[in-house]
Amino acid sequence: MSILVNKQSLVLVQGFTGHEGTFHAEQMIQYGTRVVGGVTPGKGGQKHLCLPIFNTVDDAVQSTGADVSVIFVPPQAAADAIMEAAEAGIRVIVCITEGIPVKDMMYVKEYLKCRPKSRLIGSNCPGIITPPSTKIGIMPGSIHRPGTIGVVSRSGTLSYEAVDQITKAGLGQSTSIGVGGDPIPGTTIREAVELFMDDPETEAIVMIGEIGGNMENEAALWIREHGTKPVVSFIAGATAPKGRRMGHAGAIIGGKSDTAQAKKEILRECGVHVADSPADIGMVLVNALKK
């Protein structure tokens, strides 16, 4: 089983004919993802990778019944692409694009509040994968294996590290989701954890966080109240320098709770199994499952 995406998902690629869009669409198709077409304004009616191109997301949804979209458009156009997908009724919008201005994402968030059927994942994220055949994003498919561990992470390559350790420990993933590292994420860690807790075939959750922001703490407090499955976590950045900030306002907002040490303490207090070393994620998971 899985969360959000599975073999039935019909996937659209926004920014289909660009360099990134083309490369990753090919990779996704190879993995078995049901990519049904793409959107590149002005190229509607043509074909790319033997699939139809549409001018608008709306046209594409009408013709293909796509319910998932993955976005590879440049940062200047990405907020617009997300809103277009939501307006067309796309259920899961995965935005890979890095570098979208915060102000744009603030407006996107408001826009999505009025369209509750659409969920955004990202931006600035590796995407979401339900092995063995549904990959929507840029992660390497080969390290994943179907299984019962739900993975949620803010970081790309660090989530691959966690996934790889899980696979090498003889386990597999129900779904692995990268929520991205931007200040205003479409889906938070807590929301992903909730989805995994509700998924009958997810047995345990691996949550990879890092310094900054408050998402891990929010998830931890939710887990303390509602958690029913073991959660294992690693928080990156214990040795990262404090931001060389000029003002002091940020320090007050973040408080002292956005350091790696503080996050780990809160997680432990909430019953989460914390790995201190990134090399031990798999081992801590195996031990947590024995308990």
């Binding site: 915060v102 603030m106 310094i211 002091h248 990134p278």
Partner: protein
């Protein structure tokens, strides 16, 4: 760091921030930037004409706070004093609590009218800042009647004296919110009216400029009830600079670490730290995790360096060159998780980079994991170079411990 967790922003000088605020209708003291003593005197004369004042302040312009504590801010009563203080401050290495012990060279000063002049009422100082509340995904105004002092200290001593106001992005800052702020700051009459205008103009500046922070501390109420931005810190969302070429042009590379600027030319995200083990990693999260494992292995990270997802040979080579500029580096750990990019290709890139650079005098540990990891390790092991290889993170950590002992 690139990952967006520390959301990257371009810092501005005080004079640049005040220029942007003024353009948006925020009242600021009359002032001009100067690079030389002559320019400073000319500026002081012009300010005397337009603002009709006989007192000035000369302020060092560096990207760090606490300038007054280091002697970088001086009040001048005569043009002679302007000349003297400008001469002293320009070219000085200013050490403040935020610069680190090495300090920062002062290349520019701001000459301003002194706004603490006598009048019918006592001047008062407030605190005001605008920034993103990440949990809410909304901009937030934070303010306090206790201005002119370190706001972190206010938060500790009198947390009830710090107020916040969230702004709904759909409609922006509303007049009732400005009124609430002005009332909470205990203002009335002329000063109250001026504060309403002030807050709304500061907020407009924040939104129009894609700022990630505006902090005004203090906001001053003058003896004749004007509301002015006395000191200002402002930074701009890097990702939005493409729509503000005028602000992008304000970037002062002289304020940035030269190695970091160099790294930026190759799209490498480098932050200098003070440890003995250099590292180069693909992806910011994994880079931070790698720094953590260096520490757990008995070393100290010398830097943060994200070579980007593809970790191609050219970037790896430039990454090595940049890390090797740091004399503290006793070992280098390269940690690449090969996904789409195959480990055998990264390994070949490492070998080529090593040969291109020539003799490297510190041990290098290469950890390649992911697609074709075994092939990658084989290429490293058979290269004949003084490079140790590992596949698991655990083995890489042990190798770091070994080379340090």
């Amino acid at each position: 760091m690139a990952n967006a967790n520390l959301y990257i922003a371009m810092n501005l000088h005080e004079f640049q921030s005040k220029g942007l605020l003024k353009k948006h209708g925020v009242a600021v003291p009359e002032g001009m930037m100067a690079r030389t003593v002559d320019e400073a005197i000319k500026a002081a004369e012009l300010i005397r004409e337009s603002a009709d004042v006989e007192k000035w302040v000369v302020k060092a312009q560096i990207h760090a706070g606490g300038r007054g504590k280091g002697g970088g801010v001086k009040v001048c009563h005569t043009l002679e004093e302007v000349k003297k203080h400008a001469g002293n401050i320009l070219g000085m290495t200013l050490v403040t609590p935020q610069t680190g012990p090495q300090g920062k060279l002062v290349r520019k000063i701001l000459v301003e009218q002194n706004i603490y002049y006598p009048g019918e009422s006592e001047p008062a100082e407030y605190y005001l800042s605008i920034l993103l509340n990440r949990m809410k995904g909304q901009n937030m105004i934070m303010y306090s009647p206790r201005g002119g002092m370190d706001i972190e200290q206010v938060a500790e001593e009198t947390p009830d004296q710090i107020f916040t106001e969230l702004v709904d992005p759909k409609v922006g800052l509303q007049p009732f919110q400005c009124r609430k702020i002005a009332f909470n700051l205990n203002l009335k009459g002329e000063a109250y009216k001026n504060m309403l205008k002030f807050i709304s103009a500061v907020y407009n500046t924040y939104v129009d400029c894609d700022a990630s922070l505006i902090e005004i501390n203090p906001v001053i109420k003058t003896s004749d009830y004007k509301i002015l931005a006395a000191d200002t810190k402002m930074s701009i969302d890097n990702n939005a600079l493409y729509r503000h070429p005028d602000i992008e042009a304000m970037r002062d590379l002289g304020e940035e670490d030269p190695i970091e600027v160099e790294a930026g030319k190759f799209d490498l995200n480098y932050v200098k730290l003070y440890g003995n083990v250099g590292c180069m990693v693909n992806g910011a999260g994994l880079a931070m995790a790698t720094m953590d494992i260096i520490k757990l292995s008995g070393g100290d990270p010398a830097n943060f360096l994200d070579v980007g997802g593809s970790a191609n040979a050219k970037r790896v080579e430039e990454g090595f060159r940049i890390i090797l500029k740091d004399p503290n580096v006793k070992a280098i750990l390269l940690n690449v998780f090969g996904g789409i990019v195959r480990c055998d290709r990264v390994a070949q890139g490492v070998v080529d980079a090593y040969r291109n650079i020539g003799e490297i005098h510190v041990p290098i540990i290469v950890r390649l994991q992911g697609t074709n990891a075994e092939e990658g390790k084989k290429i490293i092991d058979e290269s004949g170079l003084k490079v140790k290889s590992a596949i698991t993170l655990e083995d890489a950590a042990k190798l770091v411990t070994n080379v340090l002992n």
